[in-house]
Subunit: 152 residues, 2 copies
């Protein structure tokens, strides 16, 4: 944990303190990460789910813009750095046991997903019957930007 | 992975297949778990975030009711088994890289959180200024059931 981060977060207390208290004591997992759910503050739409490490959380708090940690790239990552769709954090919430964060954001542009869709959740899981593998059906999958143009 | 589960899920393919295909190939983490975001299908409210293992996902698909895996209790867990608030899955979605599930549910009763609140996200994270630790402010924290009565 960075020095800056350590002044922002408090150590974990009792179950009562964690669930009913006013002390922010986030639980990072064995890899130092915490799950973040991101929704649009105007529409309540679920946009994406990503991870933060302590440094990403610290930068998010200090800048008001969403920073994450990319597990595949093993790097700190500012959402919108390439695409321009920076996420402005209107409110951050934490769940009962403080191991999940919820960011309510105002988007700079449409299209939170790197595939060009509004949301990362553009496919439903469909069950075709017993002993049949689950398949995906596209829903709300219109592209609002061209990823080949944006990420070239 | 259980025999039943292995017929439901497909192996991971190329990035193109995973992101743009119709094959359901969920990515379980090193512990065999996948993150699940749960929202109310009528209000779009974020209720909770939990994990599933392959068996929990299989049972959710076969029963239409949400099953999870409790990391603290190391056990399969049917949501609502004690409280009565079973979650009926109206739609399941998966994100672009297929490592997060989204369950849109109809609740049997109000109060998805074990603390008695409608949602697990009843506290906002508040920044009081540089070098001041983050604190929590209660929001939408009315109790809709008494956990001492329900979980006695």
């Amino acid at each position: 944990m960075t020095p800056g981060a350590s002044t922002l977060f408090s150590p974990r207390g009792s179950e009562q303190e964690i669930e009913e208290g006013e002390i922010f004591a986030p639980k990072f997992d064995a890899n130092g990460l915490i799950v973040c759910v991101v929704t649009d503050v105007q529409t309540d739409a679920l946009l994406m789910v990503a991870h933060m490490n302590a440094q990403a959380l610290e930068r998010t708090v200090s800048t008001g813009e969403a920073w994450f940690y990319s597990r595949s790239r093993r790097a700190l990552w500012k959402k919108g750095e390439t695409s321009g769709n920076v996420l402005h954090v209107t409110e951050m919430r934490v769940d009962c046991d403080q191991d999940v964060l919820w960011l309510r954001v105002r988007q700079s542009a449409a299209g939170a997903c790197h595939t060009g869709r509004r949301s990362c959740f553009y496919r439903a899981v469909v069950h075709k019957g017993p002993d049949r593998p689950l398949v995906l059906a596209f829903r709300d999958d219109e592209r609002v930007f061209d990823p080949a143009e944006v990420y070239k």
